[in-house]
C-alpha cells in the first residue's frame, strides 16, 4: 500500500541553523500539507501546497518557514533560522484531490533545537 515517507526521522540542530525536512507524498496525490506537533500538544496545521504554490498557511508559518516541491516527488519544509520553540514533530500529509477528504500522514520528523 502506498504511503507517505519522511526523512530524516530525527534531526538535532543548533539554534539559528537552517534545517530542511523532506517528504515524499503518495505518487498520485496533488495536495500537500505540513503539520507540527509540539510534545504533549495537538497537531497544528502549518501550510498547504497545490499546483506548485502555497494555497493556505497558518499564523505559525512565518517568514522563517518555506516549502518547495523541487521535483516530481519530493516536498520539503525549510526552517531558515531555527529557534528553541521549533522543537516538535513535523508531519507531512497528502491527499488525491481538492474534493478528497482523507489525508494520509507520514511518520514524522522529530526536530530538536538546542
Amino acid at each position: 500500500e502506498p504511503e507517505v515517507t519522511q526523512t530524516p526521522s530525527h534531526q538535532v540542530t543548533q539554534m539559528g541553523q537552517e534545517v530542511i525536512l523532506r517528504c515524499v507524498p503518495i505518487s498520485n496525490h496533488l495536495y500537500f500539507y505540513w503539520y507540527r506537533q509540539i510534545l504533549g500538544q495537538k497537531v497544528e496545521f502549518l501550510v498547504s501546497f497545490y499546483n506548485n504554490e502555497i494555497s493556505e498557511k497558518s499564523e505559525i508559518f512565518d517568514d522563517q518557514f518555506s516549502v518547495e516541491r523541487p521535483d516530481g516527488s519530493n516536498f520539503t519544509l525549510k526552517i531558515r533560522s531555527t529557534k528553541l520553540e521549533d522543537s516538535a514533530m513535523y508531519f507531512c500529509a497528502s491527499k488525491t484531490s481538492g474534493g478528497a477528504e482523507t489525508q494520509y500522514f507520514g511518520p514524522g520528523t522529530r526536530l530538536l533545537v538546542l
Binding site: 507517505v4 495536495y31 500539507y33 503539520y35 500538544q41 495537538k42 497537531v43 497544528e44 496545521f45 498547504s48 497545490y50 494555497s55 493556505e56 497558518s58 514533530m89 508531519f91 500529509a93 491527499k95 481538492g98 478528497a100 477528504e101 482523507t102 489525508q103 494520509y104 500522514f105 507520514g106 511518520p107 514524522g108 522529530r110
Partner: protein, 112 residues
C-alpha cells in the same frame, strides 16, 4: 474560529469493554468529521469519516456518531483490546484547502 474539544485526556478501560470517546466543536457544523489514531512518535492514521447527514458510521469494531444539534461526535470501540491502546484524534476541515484542525486527543489505555 472553529475549536475542537476532546474532553477526556485519558481513558482507561478493561479489555472487552466498550470505549466511548467524545469530540465537541464550537462553531459552524462541518460537512464531515474525521477520527484518526496516533501511536506514540507516529503520524495520525485515518480511521473513519462521518458526514453531517449521517447519524452513524461503522467499520468493524468502530462506530462513530455525529449530532449536529449537540455539535458532538462520539467514537466507540467495542470489544476493546490492548492493541487498541493509542491516542484518538478528532479532526475537522479548517480551511478552503482542506487543512485539518485537530483536537488534543484522548489517550486510550486498554488493560488486559
Amino acid at each position: 474560529s472553529q475549536k475542537i474539544e476532546q474532553n477526556s485526556e485519558a481513558l482507561n478501560i478493561q479489555e472487552g469493554k466498550t470505549a466511548t470517546l467524545t469530540c465537541n466543536y464550537t462553531n459552524y457544523s462541518p460537512a464531515y468529521l474525521q477520527w484518526y489514531r496516533q501511536d506514540p512518535g507516529r503520524g495520525p492514521v485515518f480511521l473513519l469519516l462521518i458526514r453531517e447527514n449521517e447519524k452513524e458510521k461503522r467499520k468493524e469494531r468502530l462506530k462513530v456518531t455525529f449530532d449536529t444539534t449537540l455539535k458532538q461526535s462520539l467514537f466507540h470501540i467495542t470489544a476493546s483490546q490492548p492493541a487498541d491502546s493509542a491516542t484518538y484524534l478528532c479532526a475537522l476541515v479548517g480551511g478552503s484547502q482542506g487543512n485539518l484542525i485537530f483536537g488534543k486527543g484522548t489517550k486510550l489505555s486498554v488493560k488486559p
